[in-house]
Symmetry: C2
Subunit: 305 residues, 2 copies
């Protein structure tokens, strides 16, 4: 099953040429899930061939503009482009009020329903479950209410060993039950134990998205052992005080989060516009956690690879 | 006095790669006036070196997203970049409600005051007057309340003929009065009539910004003899019905507006995303009004040239 994330934007609030504010497109089994939607996300989607028509889920972490100011434009474009299928939207409770006010004054009635789920920061919650994944909100520690999102693949079915299918001539009608763990009894009455004719599929993978937040152990347990951890890294550690006063994280701290929580791989982003080049941020995070990469617009990370 | 306009965005609501929604930066005597502020305007300002710190006036024509969704991001960036001087904002009455709601939920108190003037569509009004210009709202005919803006240079002072200054040794303290029309009496008591020692300065120029609107004669009188007319031109004339049903104008009609109102030059913009190239739109407008140009991102038009 495809499980990968494409970076659409990686900058923090103050604009910088050629970096866009936060947005990521997650491809889960060929369905697109959009995480945050900073201003200009639609242009980035056009640039990197992320089709709005394939997005059925949008997650907004919080109501600072660099994380959602592209949303109303995207919702309007979906409307103008003839969308009718429902859209599931997740974000702070006040988000719908903002959207509805803007739609009201543009006298727009969307042609498709928005199914809104409010996120909260008092407790982690499962906010979505479908055949491919579960999604949990991750309460973070920011200046205003902010949640990250934890995408967890569902346990996949076992795989039938190809050679056994041929050898035992297993009829196709049995595949589904065997993949779910059933034994197989041949027409001659011989029992073949499930473990002898199947192998385990890959372990389910997890993707944790943590932006924006102060370094705070309260969310460490929830994101433990992420196959891919995206963590904000607004400043270098020589600006630790500024990071703390603005409820942000330094690159060094992002590396520490990855190390302590046992992430397999770390991607850092949400870079302050003061950093024209990002090498120092990368080096600093890697000094603690070597398997770190930069969230650069257009890069795609396969989760678990 | 500098009087020129730089196109920052020229597309209509549905996004298209490499065209941005409506925004223009007007340079009047080295002060910047922003007209409309579609999503991504900040990136365009960075691209074309339009400094936000030099903008003291912003005009929003109406509350369709492609004309204002970049505004809250820009206001926030001005705040983050330490602005303290006031900003004059002009737009539909509901605009401040939208801004205030978004600032409220991001828990942002701007460090600078916004001096807001509501525009109305019942009558044209002078909404700004300063030493360089007057600005009038132009009631247009769109699906929701929408005004254009007419920028009119003030009559400039007369210029003292250089040779007369030398010949008569006119003291510098008299310049201001003479420029305003006073005669000059030399220390020896000789009268020099103002008309003999000065020349008229250039005629004041006007710039009319008309977007979005149905072709409607009601605003023709007000924009008569514009030195530069910007007029929306969303469709080709073979889509006239669509233009009419969405309260927009075709390229042919934009040419007709320029012709009928006696514009010196026409710039067309607000192009539908269906037009990947713009030549046909340009040709159509030029078939009626030859001195037509395309609003292309990054182009600067000197008003009156």
């Amino acid at each position: 099953m495809k499980f990968e994330v494409t970076i659409l934007g990686s900058s923090s609030a103050t604009p910088i040429f050629n970096r866009n504010p936060s947005a990521q497109a997650l491809n889960i089994n060929e369905h697109l899930y959009l995480i945050d939607c900073g201003e200009g996300t639609q242009q980035q989607m056009l640039r990197f061939d992320v089709k709005a028509s394939r997005i059925d889920h949008i997650f907004i972490s919080h109501l600072h503009g660099d994380h959602y100011l592209g949303l109303v434009g995207l919702l309007s474009s979906m409307h103008l482009n003839g969308r009718h299928k429902p859209l599931k939207l997740f974000g702070p409770p006040e988000l719908m009020e903002i959207i509805n006010l803007q739609l009201k004054y543009s006298e727009t009635t969307l042609q498709y329903p928005i199914d809104f789920t409010a996120t909260h920061t008092d407790n982690a919650e499962v906010i979505l479950e479908n055949q491919d994944i579960t999604v949990e909100s991750i309460p973070l520690d920011h200046r205003i209410s902010c949640t990250g999102f934890l995408f967890r693949e569902k346990k996949r079915l076992r795989k039938i060993i190809k050679e056994k299918i041929a050898e035992l001539d297993i009829p196709v009608e049995y595949y589904s039950a065997i993949k779910k763990g059933a034994d197989y009894v041949s027409p001659a009455g011989k029992l073949h134990k499930n473990l002898d004719i199947t192998i385990s599929s890959e372990e389910p993978k997890t993707y944790s998205y943590c932006s924006d937040t102060l370094y705070n152990e309260k969310y460490f347990n929830q994101i433990r052992n992420s196959d891919l951890l995206y963590h904000e890294s607004t400043f270098l550690n020589n600006m630790l005080e500024r990071a703390q006063s603005t409820n942000h994280t330094t690159a060094l701290q992002a590396g520490q989060v990855a190390l302590i929580t046992g992430a397999k791989k770390l991607v850092i982003g949400h870079f302050s516009a003061r950093y024209k080049t990002l090498n120092e941020l990368l080096d600093e995070a890697r000094s603690v956690f070597p398997d770190t990469e930069l969230a650069i617009e257009g890069r795609t990370f396969v989760i678990g690879k």
